[in-house]
Symmetry: C2
Subunit: 414 residues, 2 copies
């Protein structure tokens, strides 16, 4: 019957979404309060304070966009980029392509540079493009799960200031699993999601904006009253094209004015708040080290199984590893067997990597020793069923060696 509801129990070891921390799920089912209830205002303020610690920033403008991580990306770009402005998008995977696509929809003149899938950009490559394009905004993914690569961001903010650009970064897949220092790295806007290292469900997008970014957004909002529909020729004087994702309005809803915008997605806010509270309790350095440790253990286990890892391992995200599908093997059949027999999901891939690699995540609530061992053991068995020769027990032993050298208390959830 439709009102009884019991989803199957899966271990989600793909590139996200992953299993939510049970404390996040419980928070989401807590009693709802009204939109202007003093308790609600308190939760909104706490959420802002918690995400400042997650993003490592003092930005007053740190809040949630009500939608998935993609809503946060579009909110940042539609609010920051006026039609006709230049945006530079260095693309090293599928999510760079998404930034390009969204910036085009915002009416921007988009310029791109490309790195081969499995590599990242050098600062010199980015600086050359900044000097050539002179963009109003640089839009750069930090961790692109399509390739598992993590673009180094330190120093890019300084380059952007030198070349007069605002620096936006999409940290959906990387935040809390890889280092990010919004203030130290002079990042003007960063957006995330809950469904990766934050251990929550998709549906809320934490975002932080520097004072420079807020200034530009508020100037655009200011233009609106006077110039709406009368300035299509002058690119800079066009109002923000979205209402729902207009950060100037959302900022006034979260700020001291508390101006009504949409009805806050209360249950998602409860969940997003808990995601950050758990990270802050654990400590951001510890959370990142935990993701690094379990990612290393997974990679070592896969290698010991005789599989080859994909891409530049020096620049791999901590929380997801790409691994080549053995020659001649039907990767989707293996994934189906893992799901049906072991209830474990690992990721497929798309674009140029489709059919060539699997992507295996160790993130959020599933960045745990037992998840790594269980996944390696299951994959070894399933490869055996498919007549792939795998050295018995080597994967788990290799992961064990990684853990034995670590002093990290690696499963804080246990």
């Amino acid at each position: 019957m439709t009102t009884t509801f019991q989803p199957p129990c899966r271990l989600l070891m793909g590139p996200g979404p992953i299993n939510a921390d049970p404390r996040v799920s419980r928070a989401m089912s807590a009693a709802l309060v009204g939109q202007y209830d003093p308790a609600m205002t308190g939760y909104m303020n706490e959420t802002q304070q918690l995400y400042r610690q997650v993003f490592r920033t003092h930005n007053e403008a740190t809040l949630l966009v009500d939608g998935t991580s993609r809503a946060g990306i579009e909110a940042a770009l539609v609010s920051l980029v006026a039609p006709g402005e230049r945006v530079l998008v260095p693309m090293f995977g599928r999510f760079g392509l998404l930034l390009k696509e969204i910036a085009e929809r915002c009416g921007a003149e988009v310029h791109t540079i490309e790195a081969p899938w499995g590599e990242v950009f050098t600062p010199e490559q980015i600086e050359q493009a900044l000097a050539r394009v002179k963009p109003h905004v640089l839009a750069l993914v930090q961790g692109d799960t399509s390739t598992t690569m993590c673009q180094p961001l330190e120093g890019i903010g300084a380059l952007c200031r030198r070349h007069g650009a605002l620096f936006y970064t999409d940290v959906t897949a990387s935040l809390a699993g890889n280092e990010l220092r919004v203030d130290d790295w002079q990042i003007d806007a960063a957006t995330a999601g809950l469904q990766k290292c934050l251990a929550g469900p998709s549906g809320s997008s934490p975002i932080t904006l520097s004072a420079r970014a807020v200034d530009k957004i508020m100037q655009r909002a200011h233009i609106e009253a006077g110039l709406r529909q009368s300035s299509d020729e002058a690119g800079h004087a066009q109002p923000i094209r979205s209402n729902y994702l207009d950060l100037s309005q959302i900022l006034k809803y979260w700020g001291p004015e508390r101006l009504n915008h949409h009805t806050e997605a209360t249950a998602m806010l409860y969940g997003a708040r808990m995601c950050a509270a758990l990270l802050v309790e654990e400590g951001m350095d510890q959370a990142i080290a935990r993701h690094q440790l379990h990612g290393q253990a997974m990679a070592a286990g896969l290698t010991a199984m005789g599989l080859e890892l994909f891409g530049d391992q020096q620049h791999r995200m901590h929380n997801v590893v790409g691994v080549y599908i053995p020659e001649g093997l039907d990767g989707e059949a293996v994934r189906r067997c893992l799901l049906e027999d072991f209830a474990i999901e690992i990721g497929t891939s798309f674009g140029p990597l489709h059919g060539r690699i699997w992507r295996i995540g160790t993130m959020g609530y599933n960045a745990r020793r037992d998840c790594v061992f269980t996944t390696l053991a299951a994959l070894e068995q399933v490869l055996g069923l498919f007549d792939v020769t795998v050295p018995a027990g080597e994967a788990v032993r290799a992961a064990h060696r990684i853990y034995s050298t670590s002093t990290l208390q690696d499963t804080p959830h246990a």
Copy 2:
């Protein structure tokens, strides 16, 4: 400590959001599954089938937009309305103003007609405006909580076809509490939210689109590949300005192609699915009759207390009633006292009604006999504390009389 989380228990009797049905909250905390898990695909299909029944439609294109009800509104308008096209918005409250504002952001040429707050439009008024403006799209709110009015929609669809317009309606506040027949009434697009009569939390927007609406959206999407950024002068040839809210892409994600768009907000989908499942189990006619009954009981109780109701009672939404604040009384002080001493929230109001009326809702999980009696009893006591003379016990007796004449099984949740 921030990781312990215990929101206060409130009875939310304002114009929404309201308390979620516990079965919806429980569904939202169920185990997450992957985005392309066969179970997830099944839940998406079930959700579509359930919302067809809620909307009373056979529209294949019936699905969820991942965001609050406002995201659904903007998805409909940004996808349906090309820049430069004419949109007619008959406004009879705050949410008509919102439709106007969003349509303007979409680049539309917006024409409005206005009804005084507390009234609705006659079909003749709407037809005259249709004939004069010749809009591409008529955008009309069904239930506007700012005024508590419910615009009759029957017959408007036929007028729109006669005048060559698509008919979009925002049913966020009215769906499942007031009659809506999408197919019979020839509605081309309708969008809703969970936080009113659907008994869920804000954060997901059910939407349905007629074949005519889908055709137009798909034509616009088709244009994109060839003409992007090259056709700003020809209004009709401009691509959809949003990626996140582009219904052509979202339709392909929900349809048989299952093309990847954003990562579905899984927990919100679980909740939205359960909202519809509970309504379908109850029966739509029964759900609407339940809202009507409890709204009548609340209105009768308030009247018996000596308070005056706001607006045209023949066209009041079943699920919310506006009531004048007695002369000289500080309405906000009364609301604070109700919240602090009785943990009951009733609604303030805005615009021309600010400080003049309270808005009291009986909707979703709170369209229940005990909620009505408790609210009336508490309000009677609080008015007494504020030295307003109220006939003792008359409100509850009047509500009792309403219930005694009804054969409805009025509290299906109990």
